[in-house]
């Protein structure tokens, strides 16, 4: 139980995917402009990360590993994620139209989100069990959403700020991200 708790804590706060592992920077900068889109993207990422891990873990341990094909993991995982995202989109469209309408636009964007591929690869690299992998995936997604939501608040303030012309736009956003990331570094003392 203690192990699971440490995985949760480190995935959400200490080793936050966006702010300390630098995965999923593109959606972090692209989608964090509004709170509503941050929430939507965050929910979609949590969902896809969890399901992708639930699919890739058995594929790795039951198909690739017994046949000595570990080196194919990148190819196999990215294909699974791409197919999976497509599948989720089709199913949601048919079964749950309201959820599709709120998450739909974010789903294709997730295929090329390196946080999703990253979490599936890291689960294998760290030698997590199935349960630990799932917990890690959910919490990595929560950490991603947390960073996005917090940052959308920072950005709405940034809109009104008087920034030198050269720094307007992306440079100012990156420097704001650096300050948010600095504040997350304070969590690193939680796990020794």
């Amino acid at each position: 139980m203690k192990g699971i708790f440490i995985i949760m804590l480190s995935a959400i706060l200490v080793d936050n995917f966006v702010l300390s592992k630098f995965m999923g920077i593109c959606p972090f900068l692209g989608v964090s402009k509004k709170l509503s889109s941050s929430l939507g993207m965050g929910a979609a990422v949590i969902f896809v990360m969890t399901c992708a891990t639930a699919v890739t873990y058995p594929v790795y341990s039951l198909v690739l590993k017994p046949n000595g094909l570990e080196y194919l993991n990148t190819v196999a995982f990215i294909l699974i994620i791409a197919l999976f995202v497509q599948l989720v989109e089709i199913i949601l469209k048919k079964v749950m139209p309201p959820l599709y309408n709120s998450l739909g636009v974010y789903l294709p964007l997730i295929t090329t989100n390196c946080a999703v591929l990253g979490v599936t690869l890291l689960n294998i690299d760290n030698g997590y069990t199935f349960l630990e992998s799932i917990v890690n995936a959910i919490c990595a997604g929560i950490g991603f959403s947390l960073a996005l939501i917090l940052f959308s608040g920072v950005r709405s303030k940034l809109e009104d700020a008087d920034i030198p012309k050269t720094f307007k736009g992306i440079p100012a956003t990156l420097i704001a991200a650096s300050i948010v990331s600095l504040s997350f570094m304070a969590f690193s003392g939680l796990i020794s």
Binding site: L19, S20, K21, F22, M23, G24, I25, C26, P27, L29, G30, V31, K33, K34, S37, G40, M41, Y71, L72, N73, T74, V75, I78, L79, A82, L83, V105, Y106, P108, L109, T111, T112, N113, C114, L117, G118, L121, L122, D125, K165, T166, F167, K168, G169, I170, P171, A172, T173, L174, I175, A177, S178, I179, S181, L182, F184, M185
Partner: protein, 217 residues
């Protein structure tokens, strides 16, 4: 002459990282040392060159409806190849890059060039375009890595700089964001044009459905 332009445009004028703002994740993650930046840049160049050539050769064969999965598989194939080569020949770099070596697969520069250039052009221009973009990416990574290594560890390419007190915040994640922000601001200043107001996602295959882009306009 035209071909030469394909090669040089990616290095400075349309630099994928500093002007196009693509491929941010590896730019921030692996640039704690200048050497790692060069290694990552050259590995990406190899994948970009290979995938651009193959995609441009297969552009008539790949059906439009499934082109994204096809491109990703081609790219992932080259990524597996380079990770084997690095594991065998330069294990220290292989360890330093870690997961980010595999994550070259989802680097938006590569998919972006496949979508924007390789699927519309002949083999030789595509190869030169891939090479140029890759070298531009390498240059940006080398720049980032140099600044962070000098400021953060007080050394450059592994050589110690005497009499300089390093600030370790620069090799941490916060420093990465800060240095990248400053370098992009500097590029804007030198280029003398208006800074890009939104993420340059024209090259991203998902641009049409991307909420970030819609929200930004």
């Amino acid at each position: 002459m035209g071909n030469l332009k394909e090669l040089t445009k990616g290095i400075i004028k349309e630099n994928p990282t500093l002007v196009g703002l693509l491929g941010m994740c590896p730019t921030l993650a692996v640039t704690t040392q200048a050497v790692n930046g060069i290694g990552m840049g050259l590995a990406t160049t190899f994948v970009l060159l290979g995938s651009n050539i193959v995609i441009s050769l297969l552009k008539k064969v790949i059906p439009k409806a499934v082109k994204l999965p096809c491109y990703i598989v081609i790219i992932a194939g080259f990524v597996t190849l380079i990770s084997f080569l690095l594991h065998g020949f330069i294990p220290s770099l292989y360890d330093a890059l870690g997961t980010f070596l595999n994550l070259i697969t989802v680097n938006c520069i590569i998919l972006g060039r496949a979508e924007m250039f390789a699927c519309k052009n002949k083999v030789i221009p595509s190869a030169l375009d891939g090479l140029g973009m890759g070298l531009g990416f390498t240059l940006a990574l080398f720049l980032m890595g140099s600044v962070r290594e000098i400021m953060g560890s007080g050394s450059w390419m592994g050589m110690k700089i005497p009499g300089f007190e390093p600030m370790s915040v620069f090799v941490m994640s916060a420093g990465g964001f800060f240095v990248l922000g400053c370098i992009i601001a500097l590029v804007n200043k030198i280029a003398g044009k208006r800074p890009p107001q939104k993420i340059g996602c024209a090259g991203c295959p998902n641009a049409a459905s991307c909420a970030g882009r819609k929200g930004g306009e």
